[in-house]
């Protein structure tokens, strides 16, 4: 993706969003360049499915464009809002998986990739983790994903999920324990040594 030169260099995302709402096409391109990679990454890590992650990323950006005219500067950070939207869209998808159908649709690596075996193993692990997340209560899945897959701090997660920091700590602790139990049985299959 070509990153356009940034006449809004250093401007907050919210400023760009207001500029977009006022009809500035460059602002839309810059927001896409800034935000889409992170949105896509969050969706991919939770869903382990390239096609579904792209759909979620596109839907999240559509929601961003729609809210632009009503965005109030200072009410929240655009990134916080997007984390929430993507987390909700992903848990919606994970809920549909809970029927027992596992979507083994991780993008296959190209055959001439040198580390093809490693890549396949990473994909299998991501898929297993995503399926395990699908078995958790949705709030636990969101808290665990934001804490451990996105690497966010608890206060930021509290803002995203609109709950207290203490609740975040509780959700992530319980979620991680539940994930460990679910994943324990697949340890060997996923290439982890039992020591």
């Amino acid at each position: 993706m070509n990153t356009p030169s940034d006449p809004f260099a250093g401007a907050p995302d919210a400023t760009l969003l207001v500029a977009f709402a006022n009809g500035d096409g460059d602002a839309a391109r810059l927001l896409t360049a800034r935000l889409l990679p992170r949105v896509l990454a969050q969706a991919t890590r939770m869903l382990a499915n390239a096609s579904e992650a792209e759909d979620v990323a596109q839907e999240a950006m559509i929601r961003l464009w729609k809210i632009a005219p009503d965005w109030e500067q200072g009410q929240a950070q655009v990134s916080t809002w997007l984390y929430r939207v993507v987390a909700n869209l992903c848990t919606d998808r994970l809920r549909k998986r809970r029927g027992g159908v596992s979507l083994d649709q991780v993008a296959e690596p190209e055959d001439d990739t040198p580390s093809v075996a490693d890549q396949m193993q990473t994909n299998a692990r991501m898929q297993a983790l995503s399926d395990a997340l699908a078995q958790l209560p949705e709030r636990q899945a969101q808290a665990v994903a934001l804490r451990h897959l996105e690497g966010l701090a608890n206060p930021e997660i509290a803002q995203i999920m609109d709950i207290s920091v203490r609740s975040v700590e509780s959700l992530t602790a319980r979620g991680k324990r539940a994930l460990a139990d679910i994943m324990a049985g697949r340890k060997a299959e996923l290439g982890y040594q039992d020591d």
Binding site: E54, A57, M126, L149, M183
Partner: protein, 116 residues
């Protein structure tokens, strides 16, 4: 003592955190195609009452004021016409004529009969 399952999870989390796919050109194109500024929803125009719509037809409250003044003036001229108006009327329509519905002597006759 560390929990081996937790260690596995921590390794897995770290591995997944490194996954950062680059958006495809197709996805970027789709996102930009969606980037149409939505039309801000404006409040619907309030429904105007029948009275207000009638007032609009004649020019609003100032016009009503003028109409009321003209009506009152006309009424006043009808009830107590100024002498100039009476003279004008007489000159245009002729002299004023009074018409009685009783004959002049009817009272006299009644009086005579009573006395007699």
């Amino acid at each position: 003592m560390t929990d081996p399952n937790n260690d596995m999870l921590d390794d897995l989390f770290a591995e997944v955190r490194n996954v950062a796919p680059k958006p495809s050109d197709d996805l970027v194109a789709r996102v930009l195609a969606d980037a149409v500024v939505p039309i801000r929803k404006s409040a619907p125009a309030p429904q105007r009452s029948l009275l207000n719509r009638a007032l609009d037809l004649i020019g609003g409250w100032p016009a009503v004021g003028g109409l009321v003044a003209a009506t009152m003036t006309g009424l006043w001229v009808g009830v107590a016409p100024p002498a100039a108006v009476e003279d004008l009327t007489a000159s245009l329509l002729g002299d004023q004529v009074s018409v009685g519905i009783f004959t002049d002597d009817i009272g006299f006759d009644i009086g005579l009969t009573a006395d007699g």
